[in-house]
């Protein structure tokens, strides 16, 4: 069995397949896997040469064998995979002349598509594409699944999950990095290692993209993070081109030399990728002995990751932003109920801008489907922010659903010392990976002593071990109890923090602001307690990064404890404080001017100023509307341009927010607004145009229902009917997606004939709009506003 030998002796992979196939006549663009059926002897011959060269492991010719790449071909995937495995086995019969044990790995490469939200491939669709091939592979008798050349953490997660859930085979996974140690999708080495170890692969590593020499520094970085065996499969140098041919210039002897260095550094499984040949592998196996292995060393780093970025919980404290949470927040609750994702996402952006390293995400409300909402918020946040997230829920279903679709290794909030909680949460960590917050509470409640809390921490750590979860992935929360009812509360918490760190060496987390519950002027207590907690071993405080007091504590603490080299962060934060203040007080400008010129801060201040003398509605009529109209007219005339139009719109939006708040304080409600649906049609992922129209329509008082991009006709029709919408705006960028626009209009005509449809987008013109039966074609964003006004009789 390969698992038993892994990490105990050096194992040899084969080398390149594609390069040899090209030499045998494979054309660029042709699917190499079809050769399993059309050129069986050539495939067997290549495998045989690798066995003869000393490879222990041969990978099947199935790199691109998946339903997505084989769409529209005449080949059945099952046949392709079966033949591929058969060829590898047949080759071993003649190619292995000594008694060594050899293995066949099912080679699984990327789908060739980009997953959502960057592309259009659904996570579960990718999963299914991988699962299908892997099932065929296992049936055909491969020894393990080898996932390689992955450049996207999300895609590799889909592949590894498929391999784990759909087969019982060992799983190897290797990624393609560039010379800067980055994936094509931006992920870095620690993020990749955290993800793959979390998913419990048997070995991880690096292949393709560059030569052995360039891989050495990346290997070193991988080895500082990983505890499991590492695979290295370089190309025969960096690809070069001459007269249309791609070639590689590291010869077999040089290759063997570099690979020896790589083995000495600590790689456990070595082989070659593009451009390497049986000669390269032969030189490598001849030069490097099996017993030259340097066994993997266990690491104790606590790492969480998003697709692009890893955060290490170490000595320097980390900030977990607490704001995405409805508890005690009226507006946030309302946003959840109204499905106002933009509001929630903005909370994320603000926290990132203010210095958060990880964002806590809690969307639990009694009346909503928490599982669905959690998944949606996690995916949307991950499409705009690259910070790791902390999935915060008491509902194991929501927790599992979110962990599955999360891109990276999440932080999980939380498990506690109750058996029931550990039974529910630990299997999830085991399956999807994650660093989990362990609350020191159990069936008997929260212990009143530090000792009691430390004991529960120990119980949690021991129980986790049963699931193979190392204590580096447990972060203990010793809980802060308010000092208004527990006079010793702060001291107990601080003591417990210190002891947990000392006794178990684990990282810690704490919801800091609980400490002041019931007291006046809470920021003073919170920020001082925060400093004390950090000094006593708090690794990550769950705080509000927009709180000036808390951040002052944080930056000061880091500067004082020499976690902030040359006080750089501190100076960046506070160095030019006073200058700021004077600049702001100088500006004096009317609301109308501020909106026309697109000055956001000035618009906010001017709106507040106006409210001192006028009613909100008066201000809207005498300042806002005239400003918007003037800007709109100038845009029409061609004397003012799109960026200015939008700056003005953004400023107006801010002023409207101030005015609306004033309106609701007065107990007045806004006029009933007309609803307009906006959507970018199915297949179309370019939504800038649609978003421009949205901002403008909203400023003119319309209630925009934004369905987003790549929206199916059925969804648009369903919402139009349900919300009794009179106007739908559709956008499309390319000729290929105008077809879905036409289909949407057709379906709308059938189900809600009274509804009007306006269309816009780069590829459209009046003629085209008429052809597909639209009611109106808007050549620019302002036109849609005028049309809506005209339609609703304003």
């Amino acid at each position: 069995m390969i698992r038993e030998r892994l990490g105990k002796e050096l194992l040899y992979f084969d080398g390149g397949m594609g390069t040899l196939l090209q030499a045998k006549g494979l054309k660029p663009g042709e699917l190499p896997e079809t050769w399993n059926l059309t050129h069986p002897d050539d495939i067997v011959d290549i495998h045989r040469q690798y066995y003869e060269a000393g490879s222990d492991i041969v990978l099947t010719n199935t790199f691109g064998a998946n339903a997505l790449k084989f769409q529209g071909t005449d080949y059945a995937l099952k046949d392709v995979v079966e033949a591929a495995v058969h060829h590898a086995r047949k080759a071993s019969e003649s190619g292995v002349t000594d008694k060594r044990e050899v293995y066949i790995g099912l080679d699984v490469g990327p789908t060739g598509k980009l997953l959502k939200p960057m592309g259009d491939l659904d996570f579960e669709e990718a999963y299914e594409a991988f699962a299908e091939v892997m099932r065929y592979g296992e049936e055909a008798g491969v020894d393990f699944i080898h996932i390689e050349t992955m450049s996207d953490t999300y895609e590799v997660k889909a592949a590894v999950l498929a391999a784990k859930e759909q087969t019982s085979l060992p799983v190897f996974a290797t990624m393609i990095f560039d010379e800067k140690g980055k994936l094509l999708t931006g992920g870095d080495v620690p993020a990749v290692v955290a993800l793959l170890e979390g998913l419990r692969v048997d070995a991880l590593g690096i292949n393709c993209g560059m030569g052995p020499e360039q891989m050495l520094p990346i290997l070193k970085e991988i080895l500082t993070y990983t505890s499991i065996p590492v695979i290295v499969k370089p190309n025969a140098g960096l690809p070069k081109q001459k007269d249309g041919e791609v070639w590689y210039d590291v010869d077999p002897a040089q290759f063997a030399g570099f690979m020896e260095e790589i083995a000495k550094e600590g790689a456990c499984v070595i082989g070659g990728c593009c451009g390497t040949t049986p000669e390269h592998i032969k030189a490598m196996t001849a030069q490097i002995q099996r017993n030259q292995l340097r066994p993997p060393v266990k690491k104790d780093l606590t790492v969480v990751s998003s697709y692009g970025k890893a955060v290490v919980l170490g000595e320097k404290p980390i900030i977990i932003g607490e704001r995405i949470n409805p508890t005690g927040k009226k507006k946030f609750k309302q946003a959840l109920k109204e499905h106002d994702l933009d509001y929630i996402l903005r909370e994320g952006i603000i926290q990132q801008d203010n210095g958060a390293h990880i964002l806590d995400v809690n969307v639990g409300l009694p009346d909503i489907d928490e599982s669905a909402m959690m998944c949606e918020v996690v995916q949307e946040l991950q499409s705009i922010i690259n910070l790791p997230l902390q999935i915060d829920t008491v509902d194991p279903k929501a927790m599992e659903a979110a962990m599955r679709i999360y891109n990276g290794k999440p932080m999980i909030n939380s498990v506690n010392g109750k058996q029931e909680s550990m039974d529910a949460v630990f299997p999830l960590i085991q399956r999807y990976g994650g660093t989990v917050v362990g609350l020191t509470i159990d069936e008997n409640g929260i212990p009143a002593t530090a000792k009691g809390r430390v004991e529960i921490a120990g119980k949690i750590i021991r129980e986790a071990e049963k699931y193979g979860i190392d204590k580096k992935d447990i972060v203990i929360d010793v809980l802060a109890m308010t000092i208004s009812s527990e006079p010793e509360g702060a001291k107990i918490t601080l003591d417990a923090l210190k002891q947990v760190r000392k006794q178990y060496g684990v990282r810690t987390v704490l919801g800091v602001s609980n400490i002041s519950f019931g007291l006046p002027y809470r920021p003073a207590v919170n920020s001082n307690f925060y400093t004390l907690a950090m000094y006593n071993g708090l690794s990550a405080g769950i705080i509000n990064p927009s709180s000036e007091d808390m951040m002052r504590s944080y930056y000061s603490y880091c500067a004082l404890m020499n976690y902030d080299q040359n006080c750089e962060a501190y100076i960046r934060q506070y160095g030019n404080r006073q200058v700021d203040v004077t600049v702001k007080s100088q500006t004096e400008i009317t609301l109308r001017e501020a909106v026309e010129k697109g000055l956001k801060e000035e618009a906010r201040n001017a709106a507040r100023e106006c409210l001192k003398g006028q009613s909100p509605l008066e201000i809207i009529n005498t300042q806002m509307i005239p400003a918007l109209d003037a800007v709109g007219k100038d845009f029409e005339k061609g004397t003012l341009f799109l960026p200015q139009l939008l700056m003005s719109a953004d400023a107006a939006k801010i002023a409207f927010t101030v005015l609306k708040e004033a309106l609701s304080e007065l107990g007045e409600t806004e006029e009933k607004k007309e609803k307009i649906i906006l959507a970018t049609v199915k297949g179309d992922i370019h939504d800038i145009g649609k978003n421009i129209v949205k901002v403008l329509l909203e400023n003119y008082g319309f209630d925009v229902i934004d369905l987003g991009k790549d929206v199916a006709p059925e969804v648009i029709v369903e919402v139009a009917v349900r919300e009794q919408v009179q106007l739908v705006g559709l956008s499309a960028l390319m000729t290929t997606t105008v077809v879905s626009m036409e289909e949407t209009i057709l379906q709308l005509r059938k189900s809600c004939p009274e509804c009007k449809v306006m269309v816009g987008g780069a590829v459209l013109n009046q003629e085209y709009a008429d052809m597909i039966g639209a009611d109106y074609y808007g050549k620019d964003a302002m036109q849609s506003v005028y049309y809506a006004q005209q339609l609703f009789g304003e």
């Binding site: 996207d152 341009f641 800038i688």
Partner: protein, 213 residues
Amino acid sequence: MDTRTKEAIRYLGYGRHAVDDETLRLIRSSFQELDQAADFRIIYRIFDLNRKENESLEIGTMKVTSKSLNRNLKGCEQIVLLGGTLGTGTDLLLRRYTLTDMAKVVVLQACAAAMLEEELDIWQEARKEEWKEEGWYLRPRFSPGYGDFSICHQSEILRMLDASKSIGLTLTDAGMLTPTKSVTALIGRSRTDAACHRQGCEACEKADCQYRR
């Protein structure tokens, strides 16, 4: 003002009008952010060009029928097929600002387009010099979607370049390139130096376009 700034202003529809200070400031900050977020990558391969009947062309395994491409490739023996992208970081940046600042989104988008073109120009200029020594001359870039060169060829082009693996450039089911700030193109290689100044914008037949150079 540098070329990419001028181009960004043109993409924003300013035509002959002077750009306002606020927008210029946005353009500058956008380029600064893009310099961090964008990660330009390019892949190319050279193929022989075979001419068949009825204006149809054969480039490797790809068969194309297009009058405008044919005109562009007059006198060429080979094709440089290329794909270039600014990567997923650019898309992330655009999406992030969509929630807070639409003016910035519009400007970023124009700047990203200008940046991509500039990167391609720099790359092409370097190849031109390199290959001139070998006696090759290059024609202007020509992309699927120009004239009657169908964008349906995108998927074949990406396959021929192995673009998803090499630079992370992929196609959606509806035929859109992802990451969104990406380009595929053909460049003709010829043994003769043609006087060929008409390029990109100027070669387009839509003379009343507001974005025209």
